[in-house]
């Protein structure tokens, strides 16, 4: 099965939505079926590489290795989950009159293009293609940020496109500087855009030019990842999109951008002879990116923004893990998977809460455990996974962060631990208020009786998967496997 089949499915499912005879239900069905076909096609296509039956391979445009296969599987898994949730979510909003057929058409047109961009970015071996794909992730989701057409949505969408596009433009500048270093080391025009060839000539590239390139790459792609202080667009954008899209933005897009940056880090480290110089960037920005959202999480008033700030915090944790070296990189992979599962489940739950209580403000949503027990219970379970309560996979990655961090950088690790404690405390306090505090007069009181729906099913599947992943990691077997997968792209 050709890689182009996968691209074809996503393009086709996007274009089909433009047909005038499509109804709301048929649009949702097309979205759902295309996501499942995409997942099956990707498993079929990269599954053998992922499990190691077929060796990794590359062409001038593409590179399929075990790590990129893992990323691809996470993207398509989350796409399928998000479309299952969307099937129910959009139907409710359509029934309430919040969305029209035009909205649904835009949604089902944009999401497959967004997924296609992420898949291309993950498997691209050509840095130019990678850049275009990453920029396309921003362009394909901008109208989803402004989806509801409110003033705040417009503000969020404007910040999103301007800041992310500027960041990615600076990333392009970094790519060109790196290409310039490559051409100085003997690569021809087109060759200077291939990551594998850049890696090959990395030791003979001018270290000064490469360091210059990395600064721009770090600031540029760091903006897309949400590193503080370039994060300002993230809480706005991730809280304004429909919940299933928020789940994909927070759950996987940030990881895709992070993976991109790490691929360049590998080239730079080879030029400089060690990862020490680049690791300092990750350590310092990691600390900042944990600390600032942790303070904000202590007094957050909106649960979707809380989840978005938590994503910023987790990007900080992942950056710090990268800065810790080889062991940290394996913990990074662990954290990435755990965060994807837990955060997306929480966003699915947040969508369910929003539809039921018609507000995202903590002060207007209470007593969820009694009034919407299914959502409440699943939301609580996902939160426990996110704040690294065992058997969460995040427990292991954060355990490595503290253990390895204390040995290498005790002061910075101390600050990170303080940040983690504040973030955990802030989130638990806010969510416990939402789940257990009695309802007040200002909020919507006549909430209909909750029945089991598709969103709950997806949340249960993700929760079971997240717990199973954590147990597998804690058993020791998972660590070994993830070490092997990480070694396919990182120097361990």
């Amino acid at each position: 099965m050709s890689f182009f089949f996968l691209i074809g499915i996503l393009l086709l499912s996007s274009l089909v939505c433009l047909l005038p005879q499509m109804t709301g239900r048929s649009l949702r069905l097309v979205g759902l079926s295309s996501s499942i076909v995409t997942l099956v096609a990707l498993v079929w296509y990269v599954g053998p590489v992922f499990v190691g039956i077929i060796p990794q391979w590359q062409t001038s445009w593409w590179e399929i290795n075990r790590f990129s296969s893992l990323m691809g599987l996470l993207v398509t898994w989350l796409y399928a989950c998000a479309m299952l949730v969307s099937y129910h979510y959009l139907a409710v909003e359509e029934r309430k009159g919040i969305l029209t057929l035009k909205h649904l058409r835009l949604y089902m047109l944009s999401v497959p293009l967004f997924v296609l961009s992420m898949v291309v970015a993950i498997f691209a071996n050509n840095v130019g293609l990678l850049w275009v794909a990453l920029e396309a992730t921003t362009l394909s989701t901008t109208l989803l940020v402004s989806f509801y057409g409110k003033k705040s949505s417009m503000e969020a969408a404007w910040k999103y496109i301007v800041l992310c596009s500027t960041g990615i433009a600076l990333g392009l500048f970094g790519i060109l500087v790196l290409g310039y270093a490559g051409s100085g080391a003997g690569l021809h025009e087109a060759e200077a855009f291939r990551i594998n060839l850049l890696s090959e000539v990395a030791p003979s590239m001018n270290p000064g030019v490469v360091m210059w390139a990395f600064v721009f790459l770090f600031i540029g792609f760091g903006t897309k990842i949400g590193f503080v202080p370039m994060h300002t667009w993230l809480p706005d954008a991730h809280s304004k999109t429909p919940a299933p899209v928020s789940a994909m933005l927070s759950g996987i897009l940030l990881n895709v951008a992070f993976f991109t940056l790490l691929r360049f880090k590998g080239v730079v480290d080879q030029t400089l002879g060690s990862g020490d110089w680049t690791n300092h960037f990750f350590l310092i920005f990691g600390v900042l990116t944990v600390l600032l959202p942790s303070i904000i999480l202590l007094s957050q008033r909106n649960y979707k923004r809380m989840l978005a700030y938590s994503s910023v915090e987790h990007m900080g944790i992942m950056a710090f893990l990268v800065g810790l070296g080889p062991i940290g990189l394996v913990a990074f992979t662990t954290h990435m998977i755990g965060h994807t599962l837990a955060k997306s489940t929480l966003f699915f739950g947040a969508g369910e809460l929003l539809q039921r209580f018609e507000s995202t403000k903590f002060r207007l949503v209470h007593d969820v455990m009694r009034r919407a027990p299914r959502t409440g219970f699943l939301f609580l379970g996902s939160l426990l996974l996110l704040i690294a309560v065992p058997p969460s996979g995040l427990f292991l990655s954060e355990y490595v962060l503290v253990g390895e961090g204390m040995m290498q950088h005790p002061v910075l690790t101390g600050i990170i631990v303080l940040g983690l404690a504040m973030a955990g405390l802030g989130m638990v306090r806010a969510v416990f208020g939402l789940l257990f505090s009695p309802a007040i007069a200002d909020e919507k009181l006549n909430v209909p009786v909750e029945t089991w729906n598709l969103t709950h099913t997806v949340m249960v599947i993700q929760l079971v998967l997240g717990t199973a992943f954590g147990l597998w990691m804690l058993s020791g077997q998972g660590w070994k496997t993830l070490s092997e997968i990480s070694a396919s792209v990182f120097i361990l």
């Binding site: 920029e135 402004s146 392009l172 500048f173 290409g179 001018n206």
Partner: protein, 221 residues
């Protein structure tokens, strides 16, 4: 000095002049004209390089640059602004006279930084057009500062496009352009980005009745 190098120098001057004018002009038609002007000069630089290196693909690049940046993008922005009834008068944190000074200063800083950087240090360079390299870095800085200082959505959008022009100039200078397929992808992204930004600014104008970014301050913590 040969005709070719005279043409290159002229285009460099126009590119720089158009960029600094974009930084300074406070009326939408003038701003878009100066941006289009600098984009035509960028196309001219690509053409000059095409002749020098006998690279046919750079002629295509020059054509695409002029078509997209000098005609399509300004047309889309102007049309959206007219349709939404936006004011042609733009706003900035600086007065026009101070803008020339600040623009020059920022550009000078960018050039200085490039000259001190390993890109050019010691005169060792594999650049196809070394004189454009520091200028392109200066233009990137001008675009960034323009995005910060301008207070209306359209100017910020043009600031982004100026920044992108600087990057395109850098790619010409440092690498003699990039492969056509990638170039096509980049310009498509720029065009779609410009259309999306223009659409958003149109909607903001409809909702808020003004283009000023100071009104976009609802989302705070």
């Amino acid at each position: 000095m040969t005709t070719s190098s005279l043409f290159t120098m002229l285009m460099l001057g126009l590119f720089l002049g158009g960029t600094l004018a974009s930084f300074t002009f406070m009326r939408l038609p003038s701003l878009l004209r100066s941006y289009a002007f600098s984009s035509v000069a960028l196309g001219g630089l690509a053409l000059s390089l095409a002749v020098e290196k006998r690279a046919i693909h750079l002629i295509i690049v020059a054509t695409v640059v002029v078509a997209v940046k000098a005609f399509l993008v300004p047309f889309v922005i102007k049309r959206m602004a007219e349709r939404s009834g936006a004011s042609m008068r733009l706003s900035s944190s600086l007065r026009p006279s101070a803008s020339w000074f600040v623009g020059g200063l920022v550009f000078g800083f960018g050039v200085f930084l490039a000259l001190q950087s390993p890109l050019l240090l010691g005169g060792e360079t594999s650049s196809s057009m070394p004189e454009l390299l520091p200028i392109s870095v200066g233009v990137v800085f001008v675009g960034m500062v323009m995005m910060i200082l301008r207070k209306d959505l359209i100017s910020q959008m043009v600031g982004f496009l100026v920044l992108e022009n600087g990057i395109a100039a850098f790619s010409l200078s440092a690498l003699g352009g990039v492969p056509v397929a990638i170039e096509f992808g980049v310009y498509s992204a720029v065009l779609i980005g410009a259309i999306l930004m223009a659409t958003l600014s149109h909607r903001v104008q409809e909702l808020f009745g003004i283009h000023d970014t100071s009104h976009l301050s609802e989302l705070t913590d």
